[in-house]
């Protein structure tokens, strides 16, 4: 299979499989999770098809026409970067869906769960292989929506609803900013195609010189930051932990939150090397990594600690992608890319461990857990490997990318010079210290120390193999990449970095690389980290006190105020705009009609009495129309229904006389028939209801209604008299066609009839359908009567 088809299939296979899940579930019941895992595995293999091409330095660009009029194509762009994230999305997908078989209770709504997961995976794969910005945006928003559905998987829990809403508002809201940024990008560069922009240095040059460059960059960075929970948008991620734990491992640590990082890496060649890029991306990164790392101390739920650590780790990548200078736009790219891969392995593993612990010990509260090392030895070992990797302890993979991060910070500090030569590495070390502290806290709090017997079940078992094996697999990967990084570097990191920097890249990563400054920084990190860890509880307590004292000093507080305020305002507005009685709405619509009619009438200076007006009214017309007015007034004022209806049917019969005078004999005939039927139905109905209804109309109501009625009447008169006087410009009428072709094409002498049954036959079909529906509706109304009586 050629590469293009393989990638397209890997995108759409999960979507198709999602449709099949309910059917498959009917056959193989709760083993449907294995079906989903198999689909993810096929996608993984399909993406694997392109590896050799990409490692040799080729990229794959191919597209098929989608919306040619808008210049939008369905295109695939495969380079190292998209390949790596593709592997992460499908590979972690296999692990998560296998693990879910053990995690999800069989009583849960499994088809829905696996459908969402598959839809998410398809959207994620589709997003990263998109060569077209519009296509990328569509898949991007699909990941937000599937994430929303997965967070809200337990639909009846208020916390799930809150978390799902928050994530949707922030990520999809940020996506709208990004869309605006994409539109600007298109208007500057003139293309939606990403490879075209990447491979044309002139376009990038022009873009960087364009006055709207900064606006475009800011809008796109807002989109990326909201998706990756960076800067002030971080608040949705901790609440997203209401999702089932495998979902948190998959979406909210390994893949979806990496979408923003992916986007930053993807547009890196376009925007990097400018001050704005460094300040925005690097600035948000540094701010977030320190803040989130620090705030993790306060958390007591192990998933919440992991959430804050994810935010902080994503900020590492953001920071490194932001570290650019004019001379060397890609200082941190290799480090960020390597960390992206490593983080996907150890963080997903930690989430799986959190799921195992919650599953077996029935709590995720770190204050209640403790001393589980004897009861869950395997989980303990897996968790320790993953947590130590996160802490940056050799020989695990986290150590390698942390070293690269420190080197990058040193380099960047050196480029900037001045106080930054010290400040930027110091910020990196501080982030490392926080990471170290909460990583140790996870191991210590769950597995070491004293067992809190009063909070924990009496017997805690090791988890089933369906849950242990996926976690163990990730832990092995952590060790493997750490001890022998050259394969991962050669096959994944080098092509990815080359894809971002658009040039050949050769990296040398080894566990031991001499007594460098970065090794000193690592040792300093461990020493300060241990010191901070001894004060861990004190810091957490201080954070809690501060939070109680200044509740407004938090982004969550602002978010809640805005959302609740919006709900309240919308509610009070709706209560005012929609008070209930239908009459209010009708009056509003009629007044709008009057205003809309009055605007053209008075702007175009309509004359109330046009010159060509015909005052020469024959006597028979005076008679007919005079009677009609009298009858209409009578039907309005007569109290007894019978009298009013007789007056109404006289209006109807007089209308048929008017039709004759208007030279419409068919209408006259139809009107007579219809009027007769209407009168009969009216009479049938009013014999069943009381013969009269005396509505007490207060004077104000009467005055109001009369004003509305006369305004409508007046505006109709003005519009009608001026309709032929230039307010409405004469249009080329269709009527010529019907008149000319009635006889030759349809062979009918009566033009109106020919139009009805021949030229506009479908309209008549629609009319007959309306009659049928009305008859069916009436029949059902009548037959529904028996129920209550």
């Amino acid at each position: 299979m050629d590469s293009f088809n393989a990638i397209v299939l890997s995108i759409f296979l999960p979507f198709i499989a999602a449709l099949l899940v309910p059917l498959v579930e009917k056959v193989i019941k709760q083993r449907v999770g294995w079906f989903s895992a198999a689909i993810a595995f096929i996608s993984f293999i399909l993406i694997g098809q392109v590896t050799h091409n990409v490692v040799e330095g080729h990229t794959i660009e191919q597209s098929i026409t989608w919306l040619p009029s808008a210049g939008i194509e369905f295109g695939i762009y495969v380079d190292g970067l998209s390949m790596m994230i593709g592997f992460i999305a499908s590979g972690i997908g296999v692990i998560i869906m296998s693990y879910s078989n053990g995690y999800m209770s069989h009583k849960e709504d499994l088809p829905r769960y696996y459908q969402y997961l598959l839809l998410f995976m398809g959207s994620m794969i589709g997003m990263i292989f998109s060569s077209n910005i519009v296509q990328l945006f569509i898949f991007w928003e699909l990941t937000s929506i599937t994430s929303f559905m997965l967070i809200g998987y337990w639909r009846s829990k208020p916390a799930s609803i809150y978390g799902a809403t928050k994530s949707l508002l922030l990520t999809a809201g940020g996506g709208l900013f990004m869309l605006a940024g994409f539109i600007l990008l298109h208007s500057i560069t003139g293309t939606f195609d990403i490879p075209t922009i990447l491979h044309n240095p002139e376009i990038v040059q022009d873009l960087k010189a364009h006055p709207l460059f900064l606006a475009t960059l800011i809008l796109i960075v807002i989109g990326a930051a909201s998706k990756s929970a960076q800067g002030p948008f971080y608040i949705w991620l901790p609440n997203a932990m209401e999702a089932p734990t495998p979902v948190s491992a998959f979406l909210h640590s390994a893949t979806m939150v990496k979408a923003g990082i992916y986007l930053i890496a993807r547009v890196h060649p376009i925007f990097s090397g400018t001050d704005a890029w460094f300040l925005l991306v690097g600035g948000i990164g540094i701010f977030t990594m320190l803040l989130a790392g620090f705030l993790a101390f306060r958390q007591t739920d192990i998933k919440a600690i992991l959430a804050y650590s994810t935010i902080s780790q994503l900020a590492y990548m953001m920071t490194m992608y932001g570290y650019t200078s004019y001379h060397e736009p890609g200082i941190g790219v290799a480090a960020a890319t390597f960390h992206l891969l490593n983080h996907a392995t150890f963080k997903a593993c930690l989430f799986l461990v959190a799921g195992i612990v919650a599953h077996e010990a029935a709590t995720r509260d770190i204050r209640k857990l403790g001393g589980l090392r004897k009861e869950m030895p395997i989980t303990f070992i897996i968790a320790s490997i993953a947590a130590l990797a996160m802490a940056g302890v050799p020989p695990l993979n986290g150590f390698l990318s942390k070293e690269m991060f420190y080197e990058t910070s040193l380099e960047m500090g050196h480029v900037l010079g001045g106080p930054f030569e010290f400040l930027i590495p110091a910020a990196a070390v501080m982030a490392g210290v926080f990471t170290f502290a909460y990583s140790i806290k996870l191991i210590d709090g769950i597995f070491l120390g004293k067992r809190h017997d009063d909070h924990l079940p009496e017997h805690i078992h090791e988890a089933p193999y369906t849950m242990l094996v996926p976690a163990a697999f990730l832990a092995l990967l952590v060790i493997f990449i750490g001890i022998s990084p050259s394969q991962a570097v050669h096959y994944i990191i080098e092509p990815t970095t080359a894809g971002i920097l658009l040039e050949e890249v050769h990296l040398h990563v080894a566990l031991w690389h001499g007594f460098t400054t970065s090794l000193m920084m690592t040792i300093a990190t461990f020493l300060i980290g241990i010191a901070v860890y001894t004060k861990y509880d004190n810091i957490a307590a201080w954070q809690n006190r501060t939070n109680e004292r200044y509740p407004w000093f938090s982004v969550n507080y602002v978010y809640d105020r805005i959302v609740n305020g919006a709900k309240y305002r919308a509610g009070s507005f709706a209560a005012r705009a929609q008070p209930g009685p239908v009459k209010t709405y009708i009056s509003a619509m009629l007044l709008l009609f009057v205003v809309l009619g009055a605007i053209p009438a008075f702007i175009v200076t309509a004359t109330l009495i046009p010159d060509s007006m015909n005052f020469n009214v024959p006597a028979y017309e005076i008679l007919i129309l005079g009677m009609m007015i009298i009858a209409a007034v009578a039907s309005a004022v007569l109290r007894k229904y019978l009298h009013a209806i007789i007056a109404l049917s006289s209006v109807g019969y007089l209308v048929s006389l008017v039709f004759i005078y208007l030279k419409a004999p068919d209408l006259a005939l139809t009107q007579i028939l219809v009027e007769t039927l209407t009168t009969i139905i009216f009479l049938l109905v009013i014999v069943k209801v009381p013969q009269t209804f005396r509505e007490k109309i207060s004077n104000t109501t009467l005055a109001k209604d009369l004003i509305i009625a006369s305004a409508v009447s007046l505006i109709v008169l003005v519009l009608m008299l001026n309709a032929t006087q230039g307010i409405v410009s004469p249009l080329e009428s269709l009527s010529y066609y019907f008149v000319e072709n009635s006889l030759p094409l349809a062979g009918g002498h009566n033009i109106v009839n020919v139009i009805i049954v021949d030229f506009r036959g479908y309209d008549t079909l629609g009319e007959i359908s309306v009659l049928c529906l009305a008859a069916l509706g009436a029949y059902n109304l009548i037959s529904s009567r028996g129920d209550n009586q």
């Binding site: 209006v651 039927l677 069943k688 209801v689 109709v716 009566n750 309306v770 009305a774 509706g777």
Partner: protein
């Protein structure tokens, strides 16, 4: 061109219909809707009318013409428009608006019948035809 009296009559019917649909009595509202649809129908048909226009039924023999079929009414040289340029010589009143209204008349029969039966059922269920009492039907 319509006569002034016809225009005034149609406008009056609009006013009366509007006043009636603002009432609380369901039967009166239905009457109001009927009057409004009469008014609209007459308005539309009257826009296709012009002086000396004939009923849109082709009469007389037709003869072959070099450019194709033409009629003894000499259609080939005439133009026909709902919005009438005064200079043109017209043969028929506009058939299209009549066809539209023909459909509209039948549909208004369907809707009137349906609303009437709905009114009857509402009376059976709630014991009143006063819509302000039907709180469950509020927006």
């Amino acid at each position: 061109m319509n006569s002034a009296l016809l225009s005034i009559t149609i406008a009056l019917l609009f006013g009366i219909g509007t006043f009636l649909i603002l009432r609380k009595d369901l039967i009166k509202i239905v009457i109001g809707l009927s009057i409004l649809s009469h008014a609209v129908n007459m308005l539309i048909v009257s826009t296709g009318l012009f002086e000396n226009g004939k009923v849109p039924i082709i009469t007389g023999e037709h003869a072959e013409h070099s450019s194709g079929i033409v009629f003894t009414d000499d259609l080939a040289n005439s133009v026909l428009a709902p919005v009438v340029p005064e200079s043109a010589e017209m043969i028929y009143v506009d058939p299209l608006v009549q066809a539209l209204v023909l459909t509209a008349i039948v549909i208004s029969l369907a809707t009137t019948a349906f609303i009437l039966i709905l009114a009857y059922r509402i009376y059976e269920e709630y014991g009143t035809t006063d819509i302000s009492k039907l709180r469950r039907l509020w927006g």
